[in-house]
């Protein structure tokens, strides 16, 4: 009406310019609530009431569990074909395929099955082990590798739930690990306090690196994908630089590697010194419970989910979207920082520039496979930990490149994300009209067909 009011309205639109996009999307979607900037949230089962009202038993019995199992089977078959195709024995027997086809088929079968057996042997249970501890040591190794994956995966998943695409777990792990390691070898404190401080330092480091993204996004509207990618690079160069300075470099060494962390700064082994598994795994478990509590039971979690599901509605309801972005990135960074702590105070025991390996990027796939739910991420982390641990054994004992693990992992995520494809491949019936929380778009699309009118 008055010019002042007009200006105020325009200011409001500007302050939330990114949300203008969402308003436009609501139009696009014919009044239906559209996915947020990162539509990944739309994929998390909890956003759909029919999914959350299901009991665990119902979920297992529903077709989705079957689809998940079939997706894993399909991916393993595809990986097996790839292994067989590149196997030398298979190539040799293929030269006389038409004379004796069974030779090639046998060779292909043995190539693939041997690789997978080695994978299993290296990740779950070594049936050739002499002692019981030898037999279960692969499982322990899996849990050890899964620890940082779970922590960082939770960070990525949490950001997803608030509608942010956090590619920055890598950088957050690195900074968390750097700070934790510095407390670990730089300070000399009594047992208990030292480890606690190391954990706190890791959390702070990750939270700074993550919170920076949330702050910049909230204050300036910069795109979080760019910010996280750039900060990943800054983090890796920062740690390489620090490792050349006297404060971080191991005395007397010319390699970019830090001194060993103090004994008091390290996670104690969980089941004795025979295994590498450390208390970091319990911390990861607690982190999962914490994220579950945060999302399901806390007010902050409710606000975050509201922001993720529909920022416009959240703002109307009086939830500060900008505060939500900062808070979620702080927590996401802190969780990734815990992964860094697990690395320096548990598995690696030193800080090097490769401390984060590729955990930060694997965490994205873990979160996606876990559908951005805490327990989903936890189990996805275990699965990927198993693949990673077993892949090493497989490469050593059968010579199959560990890269096959990446192929199988990514195929699993792809197939699980596309239930209609899996159903079509196995000629499974389409789920009933009331079913289908895992394919929200597909089911939703059919309902408004009556309201939408012809286009």
């Amino acid at each position: 009406m008055s010019e002042d009011e007009h200006k105020h309205a325009r200011k409001k639109t500007d302050e939330h310019a990114s949300e203008v996009r969402l308003e436009a999307m609501v139009d696009t979607e014919d009044g239906r609530i559209a996915p947020p900037p990162v539509p990944a949230t739309a994929q998390s089962g909890d956003l759909h009431p029919e999914a959350s009202s299901q009991t665990v038993g119902q979920r297992i019995m529903s077709g989705d569990a079957l689809v998940a199992v079939l997706a894993v089977v399909l991916s393993l078959i595809a990986g097996g074909i790839l292994i067989a195709l590149t196997d030398e024995d298979v190539a040799q027997t293929a030269t006389y395929f038409f004379a004796r086809p069974q030779d090639m088929l046998l060779a292909a079968w043995s190539a693939a099955s041997e690789a997978y057996l080695a994978l299993f042997q290296g990740s779950v249970f070594d049936y050739e082990g002499e002692t019981f501890s030898r037999m279960i040591s692969p499982l322990m190794q899996t849990l050890t590798v899964a620890t940082p994956l779970i922590c960082a995966g939770l960070g990525v998943a949490l950001a997803f739930r608030a509608g942010l695409f956090n590619i920055g777990a890598q950088g957050q792990i690195i900074i968390g690990a750097t700070l934790a390691a510095w407390v670990g070898f730089g300070l000399h404190l009594p047992v208990g306090i030292h480890l606690l401080l190391v954990i706190v330092a890791g959390i702070i480091g990750g939270a700074i690196w993550g919170g920076l993204v949330g702050l910049l996004k909230a204050k300036t509207g910069a795109h979080e994908v760019i910010l996280t990618i750039m900060l990943n690079y800054v983090a890796i160069y920062l740690v390489t630089y620090l490792l050349t300075t006297p404060a971080f470099q191991r005395p007397g060494s010319s390699n970019p590697i830090s001194p060993l962390l103090d004994e008091t700064a390290m996670y104690p082994p969980l089941f004795g010194d025979a295994f590498r598994l450390h208390w970091g795994f319990i911390v990861a478990l607690l982190a999962t419970v914490f994220v579950w509590w945060l999302l399901k039971r806390s007010i902050i979690g409710f606000e975050l989910r509201a922001v993720g599901a529909n920022p416009v509605a959240a703002r109307t309801a009086g939830i500060s979207v900008t505060k939500g972005y900062v808070v979620v990135m702080l927590i996401a960074g802190a969780l990734a920082g815990l992964a860094g702590v697990a690395q320096v105070a548990g598995t690696e025991q030193v800080l090097s520039s490769g401390v984060a390996a590729s955990f930060g990027f694997d965490a994205i796939t873990v979160a996606l496979l876990g559908r951005s739910t805490p327990w989903g991420t936890f189990f996805a982390g275990l699965l990927f930990g198993a693949f990673r641990a077993g892949g090493v054994t497989m490469q050593i004992s059968t010579g199959t490149s560990i890269d096959i693990v990446l192929v199988v992992q990514s195929l699993i995520v792809l197939f699980i994300a596309a239930p209609p494809l899996v159903r079509a491949l196995f000629h499974l019936p389409e789920p009933g009209k009331t079913k289908g929380p895992r394919s929200p778009k597909g089911t939703r699309s059919r309902k408004p067909a009556t309201t939408g009118g012809p286009a």
């Binding site: 310019a17 760019i226 800054v234 990514s410 792809l414 778009k441």
Partner: protein, 429 residues
């Protein structure tokens, strides 16, 4: 930055100006003060030589020699003035003009160069090599971000640029080695890019899988697949599988003799020329043709487009496939131009940088082109400077492109607005 008339990014810029956003003046002021302290007050007291041409060139230009403190002070004064002007503009309720930011950026880079080269052990740099190298490094980035423009303008988020580049590079290496022809390799690169695109299109358009998920997963899949084949097939017999011929450098007579810009524009492998063509064609196509109007309509408001008879999903499918061709050609650059063999994960995150360039360039081909050039320049500057021996640790120089981007995105560009329907699958009904 962009000259397009009807795209939404401009609208948000003008709106930002109308409400007195102090972000730009503050950013400029911070940078100006930094320049004053470091480039002017902290200037090294020696002369800096910028060589403009190689002594063997047809036309030899004399080198530019400046006194570093003079250059630093002039630059700092201009920057402070520009920042002050920006404050005045915003105070008066006017937006900060684009040319002011451009002038500021150019002066900043010039002052920075004279400061850092002046502090080096050998204060002498070949400007022509610096610029030419920047363009070379930017070529795959530009192809990658153009691929993103094509996808995202039609409403499909393309995180899979990295995978498209990598598979393009792989296909080019294998096909080039098997056939012995670099051009067959180039064709294969395009096909490889399209294959990745097809998976993206099928999963995101037909099966309505979240596009971010498909993109991320495709990158992992391609990395695993090419890595696996590299360690089993390619390294077992590199002679047969992994020794592609290089694409010849074609220099256009006379034009390539022009100092500085000659080698950049007119002395390239065919991929380099294709890059300029692709930028121009995609820009004109998007903003001045029927196809472009439809593409943008599908990306902004698919329902409206559908109502007018545009086949939304077919349009998206076509654009995503085309994006695969573009990114695949960019991938060929790795194995047919810069190195002549495929290496594991040889794209090394360039696809993600291309994604950043695309957003930085505001989903506009020209914007993406310049953003990618900026990355190329910063990366090449780091190589050149580490060679000259500067007092700044190498790692900080390596950070430079990324920090510059954060500043640019947070301070100058601000809220970038994606096409409205980006990432939203369209279901007719």
């Amino acid at each position: 930055m962009s000259t397009a008339v009807s795209t939404a990014p401009e609208q948000s810029t003008t709106r930002a100006g109308a409400v007195r956003s102090w972000k730009t003046p503050i950013t400029l002021a911070v940078l100006a003060v930094f320049a004053l302290l470091v480039f002017a007050i902290g200037a090294p007291g020696n002369e800096v030589t910028f060589r403009l041409s190689d002594p063997g060139d047809a036309i030899v230009l004399p080198p530019i020699v400046v006194f570093a403190p003079v250059m630093g002070w002039i630059g700092a004064v201009i920057m402070v003035a520009a920042a002050a002007l920006a404050f005045v503009q915003v105070r008066a309720g006017r937006p900060v003009p684009g040319w002011l930011i451009a002038v500021f950026a150019v002066v900043f880079v010039a002052a920075f160069l004279s400061w850092i080269v002046g502090s080096a052990r050998t204060p002498n740099v070949a400007l022509y090599g610096l610029l030419a190298g920047s363009v070379t490094l930017a070529v795959p980035l530009i192809f990658g971000s153009l691929s993103g423009v094509l996808c995202e303008r039609s409403g499909v988020i393309n995180i899979a640029i990295e995978g498209q580049l990598l598979f393009g590079a792989f296909s080019a290496a294998v096909a080039g080695s098997l056939s012995g022809s670099a051009f067959v390799g180039l064709m294969a690169a395009a096909v490889g890019g399209v294959l990745v695109s097809l998976v993206l299109a099928v999963f995101s358009i037909k099966y309505l899988v979240n596009q971010v998920i498909v993109g991320v997963v495709l990158n992992v899949l391609v990395s695993g697949l090419t890595g696996f084949l590299f360690s089993t097939v390619l390294s077992a017999d590199a002679e047969t599988w992994n020794s592609p011929p290089r694409l010849p450098v074609i220099s256009i007579p006379f034009l390539s003799d022009i100092p500085i810009i000659g080698p950049i524009l007119f002395e390239q492998a065919i991929v380099g020329y294709l890059m300029y063509v692709a930028v121009a064609v995609i820009y004109i196509g998007l903003f001045h043709t029927k196809w472009g109007l439809r593409t943008r309509a599908v990306g902004e408001h698919p329902k409206a487009a559908d109502t007018l008879g545009v086949k939304v999903n077919r349009m998206r499918f076509m654009n995503v496939s085309l994006a695969g061709v573009v990114a695949g050609l960019g991938g060929a650059f790795f194995t047919l131009v810069s190195v002549s063999s495929f290496g594991r994960d040889m794209t090394a995150g360039q696809g993600y940088i291309a994604l950043a360039a695309l957003i930085f360039g505001r989903w506009n081909p020209i914007g993406a082109f310049f953003a990618a050039l900026l990355f190329g320049f910063a990366t090449n500057l780091q190589y050149v400077l580490s060679f000259l021996g500067t007092p700044v640790p190498n790692q900080f120089l390596a950070m430079l492109p990324y920090i510059v981007t954060i500043f640019a995105v947070a301070g100058l560009v601000g809220r970038s607005r994606a096409p409205a329907a980006n990432g939203v699958p369209y279901i007719k009904g």
